[in-house]
Amino acid sequence: MTAQQDIRADTWAVAGRTFASRLIVGTGKYKSLEENAAAVGASGAEIVTVAVRRVNISDPKQPMLTDYIDPKKVTYLPNTAGCFTAEDAIRTLRLAREAGGWNLVKLEVLGEAKTLYPDMRETLRATETLVKEGFEPMVYCVDDPIAAKQLEEAGAVAIMPLGAPIGSGLGIQNRVTIRLIVEGANVPVLVDAGVGTASDAAQAMELGCDGVLMNTAIAEAKDPVLMARAMKAAVEAGRLAYLAGRMQKRRYADPSSPLAGLI
């Protein structure tokens, strides 16, 4: 089987929905809606995250995201970015469900503005309520295997640990805990936040993650559309490397050419 066929057959599923692309991209921070749509196209993403905000009632005819990225072709994953309490997040997602008509959502409850680190107590509380109300929350969380387990027990349909703070582009800071989360999870694990460049995305996939979610790494690249292509390739490369099974590391050199027959 060729690598291309392999990638196409290698799907993943969350809450009963199957996807071929393992890259989820955000739709914030772009210079224009046109650029945003072009980057989503280049990334090959089948899911995009979106925010829920007040309509500008003094200028109701402003162009809308849905005019540029068709929710019938790309799955909109409404998120709760900017929410600092479980109540705010739940309220936002109830509105999102009404706006979109589906239950698959991304929950994030933030602890403080400086680090945008998740508040896990509030996150867990919100997860429990959302699940009771029939939502299927994919949950942004700390890179802590115990917290990840607790979220899964509460009904999270995907665990999404941060690689580094949101928008920092610092790359995966703790590969050990990401790997432990992957090993312990029975639901998909996606690194959400912290990816800065293509190698970070590949690394997340090499650790066995089911996918990667990113926004700033693409939107703030000098050429976002080109970076979107790079991320697509990186996620596929990382996934293939994970499936292929990497070689063992050695302390010293080991020649690639045979020693026998040397002149």
Binding site: G26, V50, I57, L65, R94, E98
Partner: protein, 72 residues
């Protein structure tokens, strides 16, 4: 206080006068919004899209009208 023909409501944090006797769907139309593209919360309760045409706007109502925008 509302006059005979208008009601005073709050929409997305702003005070607004609207015609008396409108459904929420008609009120959205008066503002210039497409009811199919937004979600409506009335006095902290979600109004299902299917009932926007039936629920009447009442004096003193507080509305949050939201839609999807770009975000992470």
């Amino acid at each position: 206080m509302a006059t005979n023909n208008t009601l005073q409501i709050r929409v997305n944090g702003e005070q607004r006068d609207v015609t008396d006797g409108l459904s929420i769907s008609e009120m959205l139309g008066e503002i210039g919004l497409d009811p199919r593209k937004v979600a409506v919360e009335r006095n902290l309760e979600i109004v299902p899209r299917s009932t926007l045409g039936q629920v009447c706007v009442e004096d003193g109502d507080t509305y949050e009208i939201v839609h999807f925008v770009g975000g992470g």
